[in-house]
Symmetry: none
Subunit: 422 residues, 2 copies
């Protein structure tokens, strides 16, 4: 079954309000095997809203709309539906009593404006609103099921879980849809795609989508069937194939973050971590501590932005700084070792580089970053050239730094030569 | 002029990714007097995407689409456009050279897949991508201007501000819409609203919108007219009124970040800053260094997550830690002083607290944060209770810490008693 979601409200088109209702509806629908194929947002304009409803019933089996059911003059969803689907609005006395009762229970008289909320398109079922005054509506048109919910998030959510979802689950056409996420780091999107060439032909029943982040590329695998076991089998095989092709670049699944994965590995091995950051200004520490409970393995670190700070707080000697420059493998090495010894940690992790937008040269361009990892076995460094804005260079630095720790802990540190990612 | 925005990507329909591009596009368009009347999201499906483009050119004067310009097989926007608008795809050698050059500058060979990004619908203008490989496209169909931008947020934004907006501004039908943003910190949204009671009646021609962030509440003032001078006069008066009511809680305008404002004040006064962070794990340093050129005034800092690190790197004595606990005004004071002296900075800034979700007690709840500011005049601290998730507590800590520096530099430090914000 395919769905279209229509979110109604001029304020949603200005770009200052994030539309949370859509996300809730989309997640709930995909959970019961209904695939959302269109999302339309339209303002409080009856002609354009009518247009959206007409297009939606034409192309979807399920339409879920939210908004415009309030009592004020700009709430015109009921009227528009009546026009589009040729259903006369009828005053529903039961609904009117419920609305009156809701006001009475708060000790106030129902304002006259609210009476309009009891106008129901003829033949539509009323979805009770346990949290507010606007009732929801459910009716069908040709072969399409149409649900109209209030714009208030908590009211829409209640109707969704208590009415819409059970209704769709019971639908004879209901499909099971499953999804898995495979998170990778260390390869640009096009290189991930190259390793997966041919996947579509090998797994024609599984849809593969790419989602690039500063923390790597996430892959989404989706499969659908009337049989939930078939979905799981398809996804299991497809996931195994992806993991095999991408090897250690895979760091986790849907709920995993690099920070949490590294935290788990450190905790399991009883090891502690300390950081020494230059260009990232504290972002590696911030990423590590984004995981609750990080105080078990993260001791702290030094943000050595100025050269003097690198000398005073990390013991990087002035000669190394002068000879190789602050952005060098040698300084990354000394910083990592300094963090490890000054904080008495098992692992020292460092980053030095040029975040931009200024400060790059032909030899040392913006985005050049050296990472260092100090352990009891010694210190190793890696060199990267990251693309993007200042913020993206820093975000990638933090992700790749965490990945170094992950690879070290998995004993498969890959210290290959230059690597670059956009 | 009326616009439709089309955001492309199956992942946007699953409800797990928030569509930030739409918000950016909507705000930029409304700024140049273009009203967004429809927003459609469609997956990576050529037939449905074609449907969306056909509907959009039919009902809008301007269409801005994002997504599906990448190099992988699920990126089909170029092909779909070619089909819908009957424009053959032609390999653009200049674009191909640019893409190759982008890879070469990072020392790697262009993967063969990226070649598809140089296929341009015949007659379309290429919008240069300064941050990635996918070029944008601009062409017109009948009377509609169509802009197609990459899905990567920073790339779309760059093309929007550097190409689309100037293009639309020059359009003969353009209405003048003006907008000003007033950024505040230190008051929750409802307190800001209370101070602005009556504003709507006093300035009926100016629309006021609230946008709460972890870095405070931003206010947007919008006015429209065919006469640009009228717009500016309306906005100037409204802005003055807002600033008068909110006083020193206002830290800047649209383009300002707290980080940049603090950086400017430090630079002007020739002062240097060092940080000492506990719960924020490096986020204050990351916020300070988000501003280009921050190395002029930011020396560095210490992330003292473990108590031992607070002793070893900042000289916080063990007795103070044991007597008052790590989350206390006393420890915040010693941390700030320690950062100032160890890094030989003019100003030391510290934060210690409980980010949660675990670790709170009745006496010291989750969200309790002490900030410290050490200067040549001595050390002062402030106490806060921040609401929200772990990430939000940390983000608020970083913002309020920067605000302490700002207020100190403006010589109006307000060291009032306990303050709490949700």
């Amino acid at each position: 079954m395919r769905a279209e979601v229509i979110t109604i409200g001029t304020e949603l088109l200005h770009g200052y309000v994030t539309n949370r209702n859509f996300e809730t509806i989309a997640r709930e629908l995909s959970r019961v095997g209904v695939e959302v194929v269109f999302h339309t947002t339209v303002g409080d304009d009856s002609e354009r809203m009518a247009d959206s409803f007409r297009a939606a019933v034409h192309r979807a089996d399920v339409v879920v709309a939210t908004g415009g059911l309030g009592p004020t003059p700009d709430d015109i969803t009921r009227k528009t539906i009546a026009t589009v689907f040729r259903r006369r609005l009828v005053l529903d006395e039961t609904v009117l009593d419920q609305i009156r009762g809701r006001f009475r229970s708060r000790g106030i008289e129902m304002p006259a404006l609210n009476e309009s909320q009891a106008l129901i398109p003829r033949g539509a079922r009323v979805i009770e609103n346990l949290r507010g005054t606007a009732p929801g509506l459910h009716f069908s048109h040709q072969d399409t099921e149409i649900f109209v919910l209030p714009g208030v998030a908590s009211e829409a959510e209640q109707m969704l879980t208590q009415y819409v979802v059970p209704c769709l689950k019971a639908h004879p056409q209901a499909l099971r849809i499953g999804q898995r996420v495979v998170r990778t780091i260390g390869l640009p999107e096009s290189a991930v795609a190259e390793r997966l060439l041919g996947f579509e032909a090998e797994e024609p029943e599984v849809r593969l989508a790419y989602l690039p982040h500063t923390s790597g590329v996430a892959l989404t695998l989706t499969a659908a069937s009337r049989d939930a076991a078939v979905v799981q089998a398809l996804l299991g095989r497809a996931e195994a194939r992806v993991v095999e092709r991408l090897g250690s670049h895979v760091y986790g699944g849907e709920a995993d973050t690099l920070s949490a994965v590294v935290g788990r590995l450190l905790s399991e091995r009883g090891l502690t971590l300390a950081t020494a950051e230059s260009l990232s200004g504290g972002s590696i520490g911030a990423a590590v501590t984004a995981t609750p409970g990080s105080s078990r393995y993260f001791l702290g670190g030094v943000v050595a932005y100025a050269d003097d700070a690198k000398e005073a707080l990390l013991g990087v000697d002035g000669r190394t700084l002068r000879r190789h420059g602050a952005v060098s493998a040698e300084v990354a090495e000394r910083m990592a070792a300094g963090a490890r010894s000054r904080l008495s940690a098992d692992i020292g992790l460092s980053a030095t580089g040029i975040a931009g937008p200024e400060g790059g040269t032909a030899e040392k361009p913006v985005g050049l970053v050296f990472l260092g990892l100090a352990t009891e076995e010694g210190v190793r460094t890696s060199r990267h050239v990251f693309g993007g804005s200042r913020g993206e260079v820093v975000a990638r630095t933090a992700s790749y730094a965490l990945d170094l720790v992950r690879r070290h802990l998995l004993s498969e540190a890959s210290w290959s030569g230059p690597s670059s990612h956009s």
